[in-house]
Symmetry: C2
Subunit: 244 residues, 2 copies
DNA sequence: CGGGAAGTTGACGGGTCTCAATGGCCGTGG
DNA sequence: CCACGGCCATTGAGACCCGTCAACTTCCCG
């Protein structure tokens, strides 16, 4: 990844997962983009409780969005993959209600929130896209809430593995060896409302049942059907989504 | 409530919870509004799995947004109060991933989704407002996910009671007798990922501790501080939000 | 007076949590 | 080169929160 990727030749646009934009729109996005930055694995992209004045699109790498209770219990709301957009929630109040942390080394496109209005007035279609992204993010959080509220531990893990597998695959992270899977068991536990120990034991059982393999941080699902059945999963039609 | 309320004299606009709009914007909203409808308590506003082509603003009454697993387990994502907006998630796919059901008799403003593009192109500020509403809804779902994932049963219930109390209060539903509270214990259980029986027993304990009273479906919180402490609650600054 | 929905209660079992200890891997520094 | 520490994964034991089952009551409404 170069220090500065130009939007018109953004590698994400050619992977097939995103809907196309007009040249004028891409030009606008290019000048909307303030800069590009790298965050090392484990680094903070957004602090809980701090005010943010920027929006981010993940260009490469993984991150996650979370929030903690005052005694330290942590809940991960969602994981961010290339093409995902984050930061909208922060214009609502002074302080960002959630934190965002890099899971791997991450490249981000940075947009100044104060010029968001420009985008809406000059390119309503892009404004529409941002709403779409926001609604899509909510859909994923809904899905996670359903898991945490109503699925058993093994169902939750099955759901998470399928879902992340599909998302990683859709942005061309997949290979014959599987898709990259940079989460630790602690991340899985925090995303699913489980304890670390119970997560470990449940993972062990799923592995013994041949439902997944994980080698060199590469995830494979040898029996997708059994997995989907366990999770009560049905895919939403994942057609092209906007990219800002 | 008359059969058709005009937007310019919408009773919600005068309750202080919503940010003002220009006359031109309100005119547009008025003609964007296709019709107004009443749904009886328990009635379906949006079916799970059916495609929706409409957007709704709750004019009066309560509703809730939920989704079920194929074996019937149900998770409530959020409750809808007057001024809340719903339906955005449905343009994403053919089928609505969630259902919406009326909790009380409910009046709805109905907007045709196919004219949403008009809104974005002619009144970008309203498009911006819709994004805001979407981000706000996501914030609430995040908060619920944090509860369900990381709070104990009594903490969850405390959180829900405080949150709904504040929301009802903010749209002037409050009186000296408390705010209306139309949920059954089953709804509370489904929103918090708990069983009905455990919800009942936990509610009993909170009641015995003097943390809430419920008479004639009117909720009162005699000791808000203790409640907030139990829930690890801190209010987000609830300033004016948009109203479509 | 009957019936259904909502709330209440006790007994019991199990899924999940906590505590505690161990082993593997890896980068760092002596 | 090896010792050390830190992060991550693993495993066992025991406790407890919460779920399930099954009754019963209360209330409302026809």
């Amino acid at each position: 990844m170069t220090a500065h990727t130009s939007c018109i030749s953004c590698p994400l646009r050619s992977c097939g997962a995103f809907s196309p934009n007009s040249e004028a729109e891409i030009d606008f996005i290019q000048q909307f983009k303030e800069r590009q930055t790298k965050i090392a694995a484990g680094g903070t992209i957004l602090s809980e409780g701090k005010s943010g004045s920027e929006l981010y699109t993940v260009l490469s790498g993984w991150a996650f969005r979370y929030r903690s209770l005052s005694d330290g219990r942590r809940q991960i709301f969602n994981f961010l993959l290339p093409g995902d957009f984050v930061g909208l929630q922060d214009q609502l109040g002074q302080a960002s209600p959630h934190g965002v942390e890099a899971l791997t080394d991450t490249d981000l496109c940075v947009f100044p929130i104060k010029r968001l209005w420009d985008l809406y007035s000059k390119h309503p279609a892009l404004g529409f896209d941002i709403t779409w992204l926001c609604a899509h993010e909510e859909l994923i959080v809904d899905e996670n809430l359903l898991s945490v509220g109503r699925r058993s531990a093994s169902e939750r893990i099955a759901m998470l593995l399928i879902h992340l597998y599909k998302r990683a695959e859709s942005v061309s992270l997949g290979g014959s060896e599987g898709v990259p899977f940079p989460l630790t068991q602690q991340h899985i536990a925090d995303a699913l409302g489980l304890s670390l120990v119970h997560t470990n034991k449940t993972l062990k059982r799923l592995h013994a049942a041949g439902l997944y393999t994980l080698n060199n941080s590469l995830l494979k699902l040898p029996n997708p059907l059994a997995m989907a059945q366990l999770a009560d999963y049905y895919a939403l039609p994942l057609r092209g989504r906007p990219l800002i």
